[in-house]
């Protein structure tokens, strides 16, 4: 049997409980802190907050480990525990080797004194000796790209310069275990590349890296293992691709839930508005009465109007898997399914849809009349489906108008901006429309494909 690989970080069944702020408990906690050495010893459950609940993970020496999760899921707490800044309430954390934590860059800088002096003091704070700093000083300054400003007081630095200097010092501590909390976003493109190169070098030299980040592509690209924290609990741990994709799926589900809730709220508000007598001081332009269309429909806020002789009872967006959804990838096939109902049979009707982006610009609009489909009869209940073979929109949030009206525009039921959906895209192109396209080069033009995500 192979011996278990050496662990650089071991977190075993760790719970971290914070005290909720409560004035009247101030003395009690001070007393318990002095007597028992813990702040949360005799707190009642309603006074405490669990940042981590029974989390365990191990990081092999020489591997890169990523932690992902929503804001407030306990990622930073986990990192602080590993860094030894705070102690776990229960459970154990053990780390082997010299640690450097990139948690808050330049946390110890003093604004009044020069960058040079700050490098020395910051380095000593991080555990270097004066001699080590002298030896690495030029390298630090060069890495931070601050050769011209190193003797100026740090208070004159821009926030980018400040972060770069902090980063350069911390990374030059040459730790065995490097802890990184979302600090890669500090510099411009070029600096980010330099940081990534530095990580690659760390990996090559078999250093252990613990990375907390929202940049999921980094986790997929760099990490050997990943942990997904959700509300203080470990939801998944293991292969980064699997963990990240589980996390993304969960985030999308939650986004859809939020969008559905927001839409439901908007619809409810519209119904309430329609039921109530007209408010003369309503600030947004809403139709005068629930029956009449507003003067300029494309300027109107969300609303619903029409005679209701024919009604749109339900609107669903359906993705490729046939399930109702609200988050789609650019280029995905999407079907908009409208449930229709007519109290008495109608023979003059047009069904229309419109897609608007967040700025209120109409990205696409069509109806049965425009497309030479003559409404003949709408009787009882039925369904109309608009299938968009490829939703070629750029990433963003969009809203949907759906309408049922007469050929002359007389509205039966018009739903204005009551349904939203989000389009995701791997690229960050501009505009609204993302036509299918490709690039071609010939002659003296040469391009190279860049590694995605950097």
């Amino acid at each position: 049997m192979m011996p278990a690989p050496a662990r650089a970080i071991d977190v075993v069944n760790v719970t971290k409980t914070y005290r909720r702020y409560a004035r009247r408990k101030q003395f009690a906690t001070l007393k318990s802190a002095i007597l028992s050495g813990t702040l949360v010893g005799d707190l009642r459950p309603e006074d405490s907050f669990h940042a981590l609940r029974g989390v365990s993970f191990g990081v092999r020496a020489g591997s890169t480990f990523g932690i992902v999760g929503r804001n407030g899921s306990g990622k930073s707490t986990a990192l602080k525990l590993v860094a030894g800044i705070t102690k776990p309430t229960t459970g154990t954390v053990s780390v082997r080797g010299r640690i450097s934590a990139l948690i808050e860059l330049g946390a110890g800088f003093h604004p009044e004194i020069s960058g040079r002096e700050n490098v020395f003091i910051n380095g000593i704070m991080l555990g270097l000796t004066k001699r080590e700093i002298t030896r690495r000083f030029d390298e630090i300054v060069e890495f931070a790209e601050l050769e011209d400003f190193i003797d100026a007081p740090v208070k004159t630095y821009s926030s980018g310069m400040y972060m770069r200097l902090g980063f350069a010092v911390a990374i030059n501590v040459d730790p065995d275990v490097l802890l990184i909390d979302e600090v890669l976003a500090v510099g411009d493109e070029a600096f980010t590349h330099k940081c990534l190169d530095k990580f690659a070098e760390y990996r090559r030299r078999n250093k252990t890296v613990l990375l907390v980040t929202h940049a999921l592509n980094l986790v997929e690209r760099f990490c050997d293992e990943a942990l997904w924290l959700d509300d203080g609990r470990a939801r998944a741990v293991g292969d980064p691709r699997r963990v990240v994709s589980a996390y993304i799926t969960d985030v999308e589900k939650q986004e859809e839930r939020h969008m559905a809730e927001a839409d439901a709220k908007a619809r409810e508000a519209v119904e309430r508005h329609n039921a109530a007598p007209a408010e003369p001081e309503s600030r947004i332009s809403r139709p005068e009465s629930p029956r009449a269309a507003p003067p300029d429909m494309f300027q109107a806020a969300e609303g619903r109007w029409g005679s209701r002789e024919g009604e749109i009872t339900d609107v669903r967006l359906v993705g490729e898997d046939g399930q109702p959804a609200r988050v789609f990838y650019s280029g995905e096939r999407v079907a908009i399914r409208l449930s229709l109902k007519a109290a008495a049979p109608l023979d003059d009707f047009v069904i229309g849809i419109g897609i608007f982006n967040a700025d209120g610009v109409c990205a696409f609009g069509t109806n049965t009349n425009i497309e030479d489909l003559q409404g003949e009869r709408l009787e009882g209940e039925g369904e109309a489906v608009v299938t968009i073979d490829a939703l070629d929109l750029v990433a963003g949030t969009y809203k949907l108008d759906v309408a049922l009206h007469k050929l002359d525009g007389y509205p039966y039921d018009y739903h204005r901006l009551l349904y939203s959906f989000r389009v995701k895209s791997r690229t960050r192109d501009a505009g609204i429309y993302r036509p299918r396209h490709s690039w071609g080069f010939s002659g003296g033009v040469r391009v190279r494909e860049r590694v995605a995500g950097s």
Binding site: Y18, I34, A83, I124, M125, T129
Partner: protein
């Protein structure tokens, strides 16, 4: 706790460079720079001398020259009181370090006390100037006690600074309580008056004040003629200060893990 105490030795480079930074940063950008360390006590002394020699003339001939007598007490008092007042705030204002970096928190009150000690040392040349100007009767055997007095004051101040800084994190009112208490403490110490002139009842009260014995020691060594007779008190205070320091360190160590959450 012993392990942590030994760790303090490890941090001496850190403490040293932070004290240097504290001093550099304090006067950075001011025209007179380091001279403020001389000018501040000098101006303070001028005010007190003016008030107590001309506005409210001191009647005791044994306190002549009054400026010198005053200076012997005020200079160490300034070190003591600034250290205590600043250390009340030091963990809170250094919160970034405690929360975001693995940082030995006790370094912060140490740096405060030591930086103020450097200011005290920088004020000493003025004291020496006064001593020479007034041809004060100094004895080598007495002067040998001077470093001992300074050491006792250092240990006492460190102990108090540790306690004050740790407790203020949990009990912020302490900062305001202290600023009033320090004013009271100043007048409850024989600095602007002499111990001999205090009524008998007050003497017993004053003897309970640790800084009384430091002030008397400074005055006996630098101001009064004759041998240093207060050494028994001083050594007793020294022993008490070491005990206070250890108690303060124990308290600080006990509360250490709570700082990152509370500041």
């Amino acid at each position: 706790m012993l392990k942590n105490l030994r760790g303090l030795l490890k941090y001496r480079q850190l403490i040293q460079s932070m004290v240097a930074r504290e001093l550099k940063a304090r006067y950075r950008g001011s025209v007179l720079g380091f001279f403020w360390s001389f000018i501040n006590p000098l101006l303070l002394l001028l005010v007190y001398t003016f008030v107590f020699s001309y506005v409210l003339p001191a009647r005791q001939p044994n306190l002549d020259p009054y400026a010198l007598f005053l200076f012997c007490g005020i200079l160490p008092w300034t070190w003591f009181s600034s250290s205590i007042l600043e250390s009340a705030n030091v963990l809170i204002s250094g919160g970034n370090l405690i929360k975001k970096v693995m940082f030995p928190a006790e370094v912060l009150p140490f740096v405060t006390v030591l930086a103020n000690m450097v200011h005290f040392f920088l004020g000493l040349p003025i004291l020496v100037g006064f001593l020479i100007y007034y041809r004060a009767p100094l004895q080598a055997s007495e002067l040998a006690w001077f470093p001992v007095v300074v050491l006792v004051q250092l240990v006492l101040t460190l102990g108090l600074a540790l306690i004050v800084s740790a407790l203020t994190v949990h009990f912020r009112d302490l900062k305001d309580i202290l600023s009033n208490l320090v004013t009271f403490w100043f007048f409850a110490t024989p600095i602007i008056y002499s111990m001999q002139d205090a009524p008998a009842l007050a003497k017993r009260f004053l003897n309970g004040n640790p800084f009384t014995h430091l002030a008397i020691s400074y005055q006996e060594i630098l101001f009064y003629q004759g041998d240093f007779g207060h050494w028994k008190w001083l050594l007793a205070l020294g022993a008490g200060s070491v005990a206070l320091f250890l108690a303060g360190y124990y308290l600080f160590d006990r509360l250490r893990d709570t700082f990152a959450e509370e500041v």
